[in-house]
Amino acid sequence: QKEVEQDPGPLSVPEGAIVSLNCTYSNSAFQYFMWYRQYSRKGPELLMYTYSSGNKEDGRFTAQVDKSSKYISLFIRDSQPSDSATYLCAMSGRLDSNYQLIWGAGTKLIIKP
């Protein structure tokens, strides 16, 4: 199974709010977990990546991985209108003898000024 589930949204929050974005997955072979941000008509931009379980923080962004629950999260603190974009989770692991990158559908985030 390669499925990665992600709510497509849109998720609309007021400026300054804490945003929580999530993905679930079913395949325990995934080892690397990533969050990408994609602005309209642009390529995905890597925000965070985490190997295995745990937390990682970078500025206003925190990524969490819970491999036991097969659940990953991205938190954005003090959200800004410029954070409005589609956020894609992606994960990789050795599937069918090759490392494959499997994507979620992306969650559209709207930060209202």
């Binding site: 690397y32 990533m34 390529g43 995905p44 890597l46 190997y51 990789s92 994507w103 979620g104």
Partner: protein, 114 residues
């Protein structure tokens, strides 16, 4: 900051015509990829390329598709006879390692087949 460059940004072509999408990956990267994203849908893997050969390809990457690295810097995706359903954003990506993390994507080429 190093970036992946894709040209053209938008290509309109007639059904049945051949198109070549071009990419210049980051110079010290070793792994190269093409992905596509049909409007409103998930990013889909097409092909990965390492050491001057295809290392993996998806079911989408059929005989109509081919990739080349003709001169050590450019990385091209050719679609031999385009179909309406090939209309999508095509993204090139490169990485130093083939573990999924650390991909750098280009801004994409929007292909419209009419």
């Amino acid at each position: 900051e190093p970036e992946v460059t894709q040209t053209p940004s938008h290509q309109v072509t007639q059904m049945g015509q051949e198109v070549i999408l071009r990419c210049v990956p980051i110079s010290n990267h070793l792994y190269f990829y093409w992905y596509r994203q049909i409007l409103g849908q998930k990013v889909e893997f097409l092909v990965s390329f390492y050491n001057n050969e295809i290392s993996e390809k998806s079911e989408i990457f059929d005989d109509q598709f081919s990739v080349e690295r003709p001169d050590g810097s450019n990385f091209t995706l050719k679609i031999r006879s385009t179909k309406l359903e090939d209309s999508a954003m095509y993204f090139c990506a490169s990485s130093q390692r083939d573990r999924g993390q650390g991909y750098t994507f280009g801004s994409g080429t929007r292909l419209t087949v009419v």
